[in-house]
């Protein structure tokens, strides 16, 4: 390869990586525009403060989980246990707080502890026992579900008023929960693009064998990634506990956070096979889903129709990305 081929190659690589991210934000702008037009034609107001806040509120929990899921998927893995872990951590948080302000710190520590433990188990089962991530995290999810369902029939614990501020308070037009999401996303972005760990995640997700032969301790990367992914689910559990004022054994599964977070990540242009994509796209993907939701709510569309549209949108988006990367690959060949 001649040296002057390199910049061209890099720009193409850039197009492949940045492409889907740009597409998802363009799609987001498009949906906002169309939504605004449709709602206006319906005689309503779309870009009201209430709506903008609503979109952020709705997307915060899914957004935080999806950031963690992005890490897992980039590393060539995936995590189906997040929904159950969210339920579990919401209960752990509410039970530890028990309505007392003094319990908040202990509750956060307990949630972090539980999340790290679950992430470790996920990572170790995948790397050391060599169980496919799909089965490993599904199995761990079932284990958590069994324990939660065995111990709890309904909401339990109580979250003190001070902590409930996390759920619904806002600073100007920005809810605290959205700030939390932004902080999580920025941290993940920093880890992925500015640290050695981030480069290793891309390397492992791209080709685990090549990464191993290049001296990356691939097992360690996958384990750390799963711990981080579980921590994100734990943070979402804390947020949902703050919103509900209690822990709930079905809050995670009712929200469908497992498959929905994977869908949001893929909608954001991250390749399901790993190694390509990033956090920015995921944020766009989550916002896109939330704006769609908001438009449908305003137009009072049947909730089942929403599912249909959502399914179509996800498949179409990924088909578009597949086409783009296919074209790029074709040009290179």
């Amino acid at each position: 390869m001649t040296p002057d081929a390199l910049p061209a190659r890099r720009s193409r690589r850039f197009a492949a990586v940045a492409g889907p991210t740009r597409v998802v934000f363009l799609a987001l702008a498009g949906v906002i525009l169309i939504g605004w037009a449709l709602v206006a034609a319906d005689g309503g107001q779309f870009l009201t403060l209430e709506n903008v806040v609503g979109v952020q509120q709705r997307s915060a929990a899914l957004g935080i989980v999806a950031v963690g899921q992005t890490l897992a998927i980039l590393a060539g893995s995936l995590d189906l246990s997040v929904a159950y872990l969210i339920s579990l951590t919401s209960l752990v948080a509410a039970e530890t707080m028990a309505g007392q302000d003094s319990g908040i710190v202990a509750a956060i520590a307990a949630v972090a502890g539980v999340s790290v433990l679950v992430g470790l188990v996920n990572g170790l089962v995948i790397t050391k026992l060599r169980v496919h991530a799909f089965i490993a995290t599904l199995g761990v999810g079932l284990i958590i579900k069994g324990i939660v369902d065995h111990l709890y029939d309904g909401p339990a614990g109580r979250v003190p008023e001070t902590f409930q501020h996390l759920g619904y308070d806002r600073i100007g037009p920005v809810p605290v929960s959205a700030l939390l999401w932004a902080a999580v996303a920025l941290t993940a972005w920093f880890l992925l693009s500015r640290t050695r760990y981030g480069y290793r995640v891309y390397a492992v997700g791209g080709d685990v064998e090549v990464a191993r032969l290049s001296g990356v301790r691939t097992d360690r990367v996958v384990i750390v990634t799963h711990v981080l992914c579980s921590l994100c689910a734990g943070i979402a559990g804390l947020l949902l506990a703050a919103r509900l004022g209690a822990g709930a054994p079905t809050v995670g599964t009712d929200g469908g956070y497992d498959l929905e977070s994977i869908a949001a990540v893929v909608l954001g242009g991250t390749a399901l096979a790993g190694g390509r994509g990033g956090v920015a796209g995921t944020v766009g993907g989550v916002l896109l889903l939330a704006v769609l939701d908001s438009v449908f709510n305003q137009l009072e569309v049947n909730s089942f129709f929403k599912d249909v549209v959502r399914g179509v949108v996800i498949v179409v988006a990924v088909a578009v990305y597949a086409r783009r990367t296919g074209l790029l690959r074709g040009r290179r060949a």
């Binding site: 799909f134 089942f304 498949v315």
Partner: protein, 313 residues
């Protein structure tokens, strides 16, 4: 055969354990009752096997089962004469869903995980949009007979198993495994990779039709009839030693995996493990079974399982 041996051994142990706890299980009626209960999952596992061994996933089967049952109930609405036309319609519907999954996965190159996840959302949304949120109508006796009468259910299962085994022995089965093992090599040796994969998805759709018909008769009409079946089917296939990512595994082992899973549920019930903890035990056993399989594998196939497992998704 060597590959099906471990799962058959596990199945035998579980069946023996059930028989010890409940001697009625050894009588024909008891055993056939178990087979009837297991039939839908075994058939779904056979369908899922084709998709998985070709290197893909089908997450839409659970919602397809629900759709089949709900559509049947609404259209038949207790009218005996409508049974056969509706059955025909159900078959066409299932095949079309499989075809759509296959086309989106191969021609539009959407990873099957996403393609079938999207299909799952579309199906469950569409059917309840149509019925207004809850299942309506009722199934006819003629329809329910298939799932209700042990003889029919066992016969359907036997025929399905025979067809499926013949399919894997035929050219189709071989090219399918070759496709899952190494798509490019298969394509270069003249396999029409896309066509084979599409057919695999169609077969998975067909399996959901049969499972839906059996479950409709057995369990009746509800919005939850197919819930979680996709994960159970995938679990069963993997329990049977079929490798996620494709290229390795036998369909007999996949079906034995489904029987094992069902035997496990039965056993947990018998030993009075409460409903909830059942999930925990199930999770532990799935991980343990797959881990046991994966740990042995490297000696036979050095460093394969990990690589293509990731490439597959």
């Amino acid at each position: 055969m060597r590959r099906t041996l471990p799962i058959l051994a596990v199945l035998a142990v579980l069946l023996a354990a059930i028989a010890i706890a409940n001697p009625f299980f050894l009588e024909p009626a008891g055993f056939l009752g178990f087979v009837r209960r297991a039939a839908p999952l075994v058939i779904l596992a056979a369908g899922q096997y084709f998709v998985i061994v070709s290197g893909e996933f089908d997450l839409s089967v659970g919602s397809l089962v629900t759709v089949e049952v709900v559509v049947a109930a609404r259209l038949i609405d207790g009218n005996e004469g409508a049974t056969w036309p509706v059955l025909l319609l159900l078959v066409v519907l299932g095949l079309l869903v499989g075809l759509a999954n296959g086309l989106v996965t191969t021609l539009l190159r959407v990873p099957s995980f996403i393609a079938t996840l999207g299909m799952m959302l579309v199906l469950s949304g569409a059917v309840f949009l149509w019925t207004g949120g809850a299942p309506r109508g009722a199934l006819s006796e003629g329809f329910r007979m298939f799932g209700r009468q042990t003889g029919w259910a066992v016969l359907i299962l036997a025929v399905t198993a025979l067809v499926v085994v013949l399919l894997t022995r035929a050219d189709f089965g071989r090219t399918l495994v070759a496709t899952g093992d190494n798509e490019r090599a298969a394509a270069l040796s003249g396999v029409r990779v896309n066509r084979v994969r599409i057919l695999a998805f169609v077969l998975s759709g067909a399996s959901a039709v049969v499972a839906g018909i059996l479950l409709g008769g057995f369990a009746g009409v509800s919005a939850q009839v197919g819930q979680g079946l996709e994960f159970q089917a995938i679990t069963a296939v993997v329990l049977g030693g079929v490798v996620l990512g494709g290229g390795r595994g036998s369909v007999v082992a996949a079906m034995a995996g489904a029987l094992t899973l069902e035997a496990l549920f039965t056993l947990l019930n018998l030993y009075g493990i409460s409903g909830a903890l059942e999930f925990t035990v199930q999770g532990v056993i799935i991980i343990a079974a797959v881990a046991a399989g994966a740990v042995r594998l490297p000696f036979a196939h050095p460093r394969r399982s990990k690589g293509d497992a990731h490439a597959a998704s």
